[in-house]
């Protein structure tokens, strides 16, 4: 491009002052106020939904089995865990309907891990779209989460069918409807985390490498294929571990689907606090750096 050191150029002959009233003008690329930002996002709702829908359809086109992988993936994951933890290490001892317990764990964890990973990468992987068009950038992580929710519907149905198929074959009860609000709270939480990570990764790309490790730690601490009650003796540690939002989602779903129990209100309350806290924090944190996305530093 240009040289490294600017050579001396003569001063201009004259400097003409230009009185300008900037009141009618907007600063190009400026970040709007937080409420204006939310309004702008609402105005772009059609863009968000279209982006989510279009990418669900084209998501797995490169694989021969296409979208079937959304279901096959957790099935194989579950099978692996069943072989190692269920048969070999017998972590399932003392858990009623361990297969159902495992299926819910693996399927629901996959939803969160996909949503968070893709949400976190949404800014970095859409640089081209960001540079081409002016729209509130939070539209991209939101679209990713809606896409994951849409793609998650058949996955959840498959999960419920599998639970019905495997012995002891739970009965369908009205309690199964609790799956819906639990899932929504889970997605809201995922969106919040995705927004925070999207901003972090847009400046420090190295974090993508750490993300998979963090998700693995999260999986092990969420009781996906074992039960804390059998393992942890210390009461305080157990109480802390049970504050984990994903553990709460799994607990609520297992209670309502497998054990025909109404989930405790405390679980709902803590999960709601997690979800709302994450999404509010996520939006504010993401919005603060709105001007920097997709830009050359």
């Amino acid at each position: 491009m240009a040289k490294a050191v600017p050579p001396a150029l003569p001063e201009p002959a004259q400097i003409r002052s230009f009185p300008v009233d900037t009141r009618g003008l907007i600063r190009v690329g400026a970040r709007p106020g937080f409420l204006d930002y939310l309004v702008q996002l609402w105005d772009h709702r059609e863009f968000i939904f279209y982006d989510a829908k279009a990418r669900v359809q084209s998501g797995n086109r490169r694989d021969r089995l296409g979208s079937a992988w959304l279901i096959l993936n957790p099935v194989f994951n579950g099978l692996t865990f069943y072989l190692i933890f269920g048969l070999l290490l017998q972590t399932g001892r003392g858990i009623a309907n361990f297969i159902g317990y495992l299926i819910i764990g693996v399927f629901i964890f996959q939803l969160s891990s996909r949503a968070i990973t893709n949400g976190a990468r949404s800014i970095q992987s859409n640089r081209a779209v960001i540079q081409a068009f002016n729209f509130p950038r939070a539209a991209l992580p939101i679209a990713v989460n809606i896409r994951e929710l849409l793609a998650g519907v058949p996955v959840i149905l498959a999960m419920l069918v599998l639970i019905l198929l495997f012995p002891p074959g739970e009965e369908i009860t009205g309690l199964w409807l609790f799956v819906v609000p639990a899932l929504l709270l889970q997605m809201v939480f995922n969106l919040g985390v995705g927004l925070v990570l999207a901003r972090v990764i847009s400046t420090i790309n190295d974090v993508t490498h750490l993300l998979s490790f963090a998700l693995r730690v999260w999986m092990y601490s969420s009781a996906v294929f074992f039960s804390f009650d059998n393992l942890i003796v210390n009461e305080t540690v157990l109480a802390i571990v049970k504050l984990n939002p994903l553990y709460l989602v799994l607990d609520i779903m297992r209670d309502s689907v497998l054990y025909a129990m109404v989930p405790e209100w405390q679980s709902w309350a803590v999960l709601t606090v997690w979800a709302l806290g994450a999404v509010i924090l996520g939006f504010i944190f993401f919005w603060k750096a709105e001007e920097s996305y997709g830009r050359e530093q």
């Binding site: 150029l9 400097i15 003409r16 002052s17 003008l25 190009v28 081409a132 068009f133």
Partner: protein, 297 residues
């Protein structure tokens, strides 16, 4: 040099559409230059070198300049490669943030070029809807314009294939057609980026002419001085990131053509003298705030 405000004060002014206020652009990039690395001593420097971290150098792409463009003006930008033309366009369109200063505009400037990258996995028609939604059009407006966008892109039946199957020319035509589908008040055209066969050039030129006539202000980068003189009411000459001339098209393109001719003949001294002369005659702009204290610097 004298700062005179009497030139403009008191005169009835037209409305400013684009105000470039003390804008400069410095890129910080990694350099592979050995000389820059050799200067690094001490343990820290050696450590950095050994993990392959290259030194960061500053590239001055655009030195501080101010410009005010009013409604009805068509501004041509001329200069050699690396003179800062594209950087200036990126700053005006908001694709880059200036290192210092700010760009104000009366509405969001739209850049017409072929760098409006889209989503490769999606088909051409999905990309049209997505791109238009991102620009803030409604579904009805898109429905009205869809056919003309497809016509302009000249893609016919290929519009239903995924964009990653397109040739470079095909996708740049589609990008142009999408970007050209809205009627912006402030239009930026970077012709240097324009590609395509003769047939498409005709079509795109017709559309550009239409847009140019509707737009309040136009910025045009072109390597064809003929196009610039023909289309613009004002021309600026940039060289190595500095503003050299700002004036009527015939005068500026004439000076630039002379400069380029001497350069190509190898008369570097004559050329650099012309460069200095042009700068000495420059009447630079200084932006005066009419409502002081409003802008956050």
């Amino acid at each position: 040099m004298a700062v005179s405000s009497d030139l403009t004060e008191g005169l009835p002014r037209k409305q400013a559409t684009v105000v470039i206020d003390r804008v400069s652009m410095t890129y910080r990039v990694h350099s592979t230059e050995v000389r820059a690395t050799a200067g690094r001593t001490g343990i820290l420097g050696r450590m950095r070198r050994s993990i392959g971290e290259s030194p960061i150098v500053s590239v001055y792409a655009l030195n501080e300049m101010s410009l005010v463009v009013e409604r009805g003006e068509s501004v041509g930008i001329v200069g050699r490669n690396g003179s800062g033309k594209s950087t200036l366009m990126r700053l005006i369109s908001g694709q880059s943030n200036p290192t210092t200063g700010a760009v104000y505009a009366s509405s969001i400037p739209i850049m017409l070029g072929v760098n409006a990258a889209l989503v490769p996995e999606l088909s051409g028609d999905h990309n049209i809807v997505l791109g238009c939604l991102a620009m803030g059009l409604t579904r009805n407006q898109i429905g009205e314009r869809f056919d003309s966008i497809v016509d302009l892109s000249g893609l016919d039946k290929s519009i239903h294939l995924p964009m990653k199957s397109y040739s470079a020319g095909m996708s740049s035509r589609l990008r142009f057609a999408i970007a050209a589908s809205i009627d912006p008040e402030i239009l930026l055209i970077d012709e240097a980026l324009n590609t395509g066969d003769a047939q498409f050039r005709d079509r795109s030129k017709r559309r550009m002419d239409e847009l140019r006539l509707q737009a309040g202000s136009v910025f045009l980068v072109s390597h064809s001085l003929e196009t610039i003189t023909e289309m613009c009411t004002r021309v600026i000459w940039l060289d190595q990131g500095d503003l050299l001339m700002d004036g009527n098209p015939a005068e500026v393109t004439g000076a630039y053509a002379g400069f380029a001719r001497h350069l190509s003949k190898g008369n570097n001294q004559t050329a650099s003298k012309m460069r200095l002369e042009a700068r000495q005659k420059l009447i630079a702009t200084q932006v005066l705030e009419r409502t002081p204290g409003r802008r956050s610097a």
